[in-house]
Each structure stands twice: as C-alpha cells, then as structure tokens.
C-alpha cells in the first residue's frame, strides 16, 4: 500500500477547518502566479471564500449578483477568450440552478471553467432541505467532458482546486460549510482520478468522499475493535472514477459499502456500482440519503440522524456484513 502521509494520530487532529477554506486559499495562491485566472461570483463571495481572490485581484473578479445562470455563461465567455474562469456559489444553486448553462455553455463548449459548489450536503444543517445539495454529483457526473471532485478536508480541497486549475476543461468541486478535522497533510498524494487508500483491510471496503472519509476512518477504528477489518478509500474524484482501485479492493474484501452526503441515486454509490456491475460483481451497500428531502437541524445532529457520522457508518457496515457471500 502506498504511503498516504496522514496526520500521525487521526484520532487527535490539530486543526478543524472547512474544505471551502482550502479552495479559497488555492485560488489566491494560484492567482498570484497566473494572471489568466479569473473568478466569478453570484453574491456569496464571502461564504464561498472567493472574496479573498477579489480583494487581491479585483480586476480579475466579476460579481454577477444572485444570477447563477448568468454566472455560468459569463464564466464560459471569460474562458473562451483564453482565461481560466472559476465560478463559485452554493451547490444547491450552482449546479442546481444552472445545469442547462453548465451543460451547453460550459461542457459542450469544453470551456476551461472550474465550478466550485460550496455548502454541499446535509451538514449545511439549519438552512433546511431547500439548501441541502444532495443531488449535485448525480447531475454533474452525467455530463460529458466534466470532472467531479469532492475533497475530504481543507488540505485536499486546496490540492483539488490547484489540480483543477492545471487541467484544461470543466471541473466541478463540491465543498462543505462545516468545520471538519484536517487529517491529510501536504505530503498526502492527490491526483485527479486516483483514489487514495487510507486504511487497508480484508473484510470490507468503505468508499467515501468529502466529510464521510474521515468519519469512515473513525468507523473503521471502532469496527477493528469488534474484529471487522475495514479498508477505507477516499474516492475524491467521482468522475473519472478510479476503476482499478475499486476493483482491486472489491476482490480483496468481497464487500463494498459507500458512504456519502448525497442521494443514493446517482452519487458515488451509483458510480461504484456501475464499475462493479460491469467489471467485478460484488455485494455493495450504497449508503447516503434514501431518496428523500431532509430537514433543519444542527449539521452534526443531522449527520447522526441519517447515519452519516462515524457511529452511523459503523452500524451500516455491520449490517452490510451479512451481504457477504
């Protein structure tokens, strides 16, 4: 197994920060080096952390107001004259509100646009169901030319945005509002399309993205105490998905559990199932939000209720063990 250089004791993380911070910092760092990087925002520049870019490079920043459809078109236009355009808004609105613009103006044009959808998933909490983006991966990963990334913590989000900026073509990056432990390090590898195996195991493979990666690592610690040896994979790139790593671990463990803050229809779970069904049929439990709208509540309260925290994932894995052939 490749060395992943996680923090020394994952149970004692020194920092808790939101993944959107990583994206905001990456934009400023790369913006310093590359004058071709432009940013477009739809009225939530502070929340999406693109405001830092605006403060440093106001001549390369465009504020379009509450108009996500226009934002996508403007970003496509900026990129079409040789720039790298980054557009930021909450994931429920972008790609939620502007999918047609993303499909035709960005993906069909193969525009060099990076789409940052912040405040994704359930952990946005008290704002309630209308603001909980649980469908964004399904609607982006189905688009040709698109790359879809969901980083697990602040440092990975930073690397993801830098990798996205270096890639010529459309990339969607989803981040979270909630502060979460930073457990990867500057040395942890990051390559678009290459999943990171953070924990080896022989009984079951947990595949997750975003906030659930760390929760899955905690769950695996607890499962180990009960004699279940779980591998944990950070599948940060949902498209193109790392088929080889998924198949390797399906063969090795004979059971796959996916965990994500997304509808079970069309997310990472579906993407993994597509790979396994075609290449190596394996029992799989697709865990996420089961085709429903959720509700207001604290971010962690909701994660607990919907079994997307460590305790919940552990329970789901234990139930799934019965599926093993």
């Amino acid at each position: 197994m490749k060395e992943m250089h996680l923090i020394e004791n994952i149970l004692e993380p020194a920092e808790k920060k939101a993944s959107r911070e990583g994206v905001g910092n990456a934009l400023v760092e790369e913006g310093e080096k590359n004058e071709n990087i432009w940013a477009v925002s739809a009225d939530v520049a502070e929340s999406t952390r693109v405001q830092k870019f605006n403060e440093k490079f106001p001549k390369r920043f465009v504020q379009v107001g509450v108009a996500e459809q226009n934002m996508a078109g403007v970003a496509a236009g900026i990129s079409s004259v040789g720039k790298i355009a980054v557009m930021s808004a909450y994931a429920v609105f972008s790609p939620g509100r502007n999918w047609d613009q993303i499909r035709v103006s960005i993906c069909y044009n193969n525009s060099n646009v990076k789409m940052h959808g912040s405040h994704s998933g359930l952990n946005v909490g008290p704002d309630g169901a209308s603001h909980q983006a649980l469908e964004d991966i399904a609607i982006t990963r189905v688009l040709p030319n698109m790359i879809v990334i969901s980083p697990a913590d602040r440092i990975e989000a930073n690397k993801a945005m830098k990798a996205a900026l270096a890639h010529n073509g459309p990339v969607y990056i989803r981040t979270s509002r909630e502060k979460t432990p930073t457990f990867t390090t500057d040395k942890t590898p990051f390559e678009i399309g290459k999943a990171n195996v953070y924990r080896d195991g022989k009984d079951v493979t947990i595949i997750a993205h975003g906030l659930q990666v760390y929760q899955s690592l905690l769950a695996a610690e607890e499962l180990a105490k009960e004699g279940i040896d779980a591998a944990v994979i950070d599948c940060h790139t949902i498209k193109p998905i790392d088929k080889e790593t998924i198949i390797e671990y399906a063969k090795k463990t004979g059971l796959v559990v996916t965990a994500e803050e997304h509808q079970v229809n069309g997310g990472l779970g579906s993407a993994v199932a597509e790979v396994l069904a075609e290449r190596y049929p394996t029992p799989i439990k697709i865990h996420g939000i089961y085709d429903r709208f959720c509700e207001s509540g604290g971010g962690w309260e909701l994660l607990k209720k919907y079994k997307l925290d460590a305790t919940g994932i552990k329970e789901i894995v234990k139930e799934a063990m019965g599926m093993k052939k």
């Binding site: 477009v40 465009v62 078109g73 403007v74 970003a75 900026i78 720039k83 069909y108 044009n109």
Partner: protein, 285 residues
Amino acid sequence: MFKKINNVKQLKLKANEIRQDVVRMLNAAGSGHPAGAIGLADVYAALYFNVLYHDPKNPCWPERDRIVLSNGHVCPVLYSALANTGYFPKDELLTLRKLGSRLQGHPHKGAMPGIENSSGPLGHGLSIAVGMAIVSKRERKKWRVYCLMSDGELDEGQCWEAAMLAAKHRLGNLTAVIDRNNIQIDGHTEEVMPLEPLADKFKSFGWNVINVDGHNIKKFIDACEESKAVYERPTVIIAHTVPGKAISFMEFLTEWHGKPPNDEQAADAIKELEKQREMIEEEDE
C-alpha cells in the same frame, strides 16, 4: 484581415447569395429553421462583409471581433456567412445536419474555428458575450463583441440577468442585435409572451437602443457604427425583420419557423431569388 465590402449593392448581392444558400441547405437537410435564417440574411451580410474585423484565413486571430450566436437554430445563415467569407469551402454547406458534418443542427464551438460558442438552448448567448466583453474592456483590447439574438428568446430570464450585468460594467464594446421578426414557435411574440415596449425595457436596463429596418443594409451598418460611438453603454440594435424575407410564400408565416422547403418549394424560392439578383445587378453602384 478580411477586406471589407463598402458598396451596398455588392452587400445586397451577398445577402441574396446567403438566402440562396440557406434554401439549398435546408432543402438538402430535410429539417431546420428557414424563416429566421432567411430573414437575417441582410444582417449577416452586413456584419460579416462589412462591420466585423476578422480574418477568415486566420480565424483564431486574437484581436478579432467576436460574434456570439445565441439563437443557434438560425445557424444556416451563420454557416453561409462563414463559407462566403472564406472560413471553409462552400460545397460543405450541403452537409448541414448530416452524419459526419461539421455543420451541426445547432452550432458546436468545437466543430470549426469561426464558431465562437455552442448554442441551442435559448438565452445563453448574452451571458457569454458579456463575459468576453468584460475581459476585452478590462484588458483594454480593441476587439468588440456582437451578440446575435432572437426576440422570442428574450422570454428567457437569463437574457435580463446578462443585460443588467452589461449595464453595470458599462460595456460600450458590446452590441446586441435582436432579430425582431415577431414570431416564435407557438405563434406571434405579442400573443405568446408580449415583449413590448421592448426598446423601453432595454433603456430602463441602462442600454443604448437603436431601432432599425433589418433589411436596410446601409442603415444597419450605420447603427453598428453608432454603437461603437456610444462607448459608455452597451447598445442593442433592434433589427426589425420579416421572417422568410424575399421569398413570397414564406414571408410573415410562423409555419416556416421550423419547416424546410421541399424540392418544389426550394426551386420556386431559388427562381424568385435569382430574379431579385438580376434586379440588384441592374441597380446603380
């Protein structure tokens, strides 16, 4: 650089040629949108042969003016203008909508240089044009952006989002051209979704508005010149056109929005256009 044609008679002949191309292309394709495309022949002739700074032999020239076609369904007129100015061989026009053709039913940016954006779903173009124009303005470039739109597509809210942003940034380097032909798929625009008072709408959004006869090439060129002179605001040219203009059985009829001419109709149309060509030839220079 493309050598501009300043002679109105010559431009009229180009418009006639574009009309004939569109008829032949749609007849060969067996599907497509004739009325809007034919109605726009004069506008496209004026733009591509006179107004634009461009270089068909060097289509990616960075300093070129940009044309963003927003109502992609009229693309046969764009393809004909591109072919007639030398972007690609004219015989390729008859491949429109066919398997393997670069001339997609709605334009694809990746298909060939000269097509600046993919389009099809309405309402996208002005946003793209605004993005381009902001870059050109901030970087103090000379190139301008022309966004070609339909009237029916103004039903899409995105157009107005983009119109607000263009005014915010005082994009004097942006000219939108609206094909005011009063038709859309379900009927006349004022019945389907009234747009009037259209000029007042744009004025209230902070735009310079010019109404022009979209079949008067000289006046259309003058309107484009005025839009360059008004440098502190974006300009919209509302080009009043007749759908199917110059083909008597097609003019004004909404049924020709999305139906191609059959062989007999195409032959009649070409005959009529040939007569008009002869008449233009006889005009004074």
